[in-house]
């Protein structure tokens, strides 16, 4: 596609409900990232995929958070038993290359985010 696409754009969940957020990266992009952005803050890294392999999940805040990218393209971030502190914008990003040093660098393209509110 033309850009990184995320769905749903807005989600209101009741506390304790499970949610699933979908990310369609730019076609052919090897790297995929999930970030969490709380209101008034900068985004914070959650997890990183290289193709289907989840190489870094150090930013996932608890074992209620789970991400997958089974075929190396679409990714899903799942949050189980949502809590109010999970309310945030969840940003997906992709980039075409991995571990590359070049003048253009590893440019990262972000989606518009999924806005999650837990009530």
């Amino acid at each position: 596609g033309a850009g990184v696409s995320q769905s749903p754009r807005y989600k209101v969940a009741k506390r304790g409900q499970d949610v699933a957020l979908r990310c369609d990266p730019i076609s052919g992009h090897v790297s995929l990232f999930w970030y969490q952005q709380a209101l008034g803050q900068g985004p914070e890294f959650l997890t990183y995929f290289q193709n289907e392999a989840q190489l870094d999940k150090s930013g996932l805040p608890s074992d209620r958070f789970f991400a997958e990218r089974p075929e190396g393209s679409v990714s899903t971030l799942k949050i189980q038993r949502t809590q109010q502190e999970d309310s945030a914008v969840y940003l997906c990003a992709s980039s075409p290359d991995v571990f590359r040093r070049s003048r253009s660098g590893n440019t990262i393209y972000f989606g518009e985010g999924s806005w999650l509110t837990v009530v």
């Binding site: 990232f33 900068g42 985004p43 990003a93 040093r101 253009s104 440019t107």
Partner: protein
């Protein structure tokens, strides 16, 4: 982990004015990017600039890696420049990076007509 501080936190300008945004970081980096987040939440990459100077139209950026800071210059500002500007860095390992960015808190820019 690495710390990223941006200043000023807020900036209000009249259309046509120039501005400078600053990003200080606490350790050496091999990846530094500036982003603009528009009012709809979209983060747009402006520059990849771990060192040196780059220009793109009315925007330019300079990173002095040895002194651990980067500057984003906006000239002849327009109302469409409004939004939040983020600096993000990656320390990386062995001189490489893959995009695990640490973001600053951002500078909120408002440009009035």
């Amino acid at each position: 982990g690495i710390q990223v501080e941006q200043s000023p936190p807020d900036l209000i300008l009249q259309e046509g004015a120039n501005s400078t945004l600053r990003c200080n970081f606490s350790d050496s980096v091999n990846n530094l990017q500036w982003f603009h987040q528009n009012p709809w939440g979209q983060l747009i990459n402006l520059f990849y600039i771990p060192s040196g100077t780059k220009q793109n139209g009315r925007l330019s950026a300079t990173t002095v890696a040895t002194e651990r800071y980067s500057l984003l210059y906006i000239s002849s500002s327009q109302t469409t420049d409004s939004g939040v500007y983020f600096c993000a860095v990656e320390r990386g390992a062995g001189g490489t990076s893959y995009g695990k960015l640490t973001f600053g808190q951002g500078t909120i820019l408002t440009v009035h007509p």
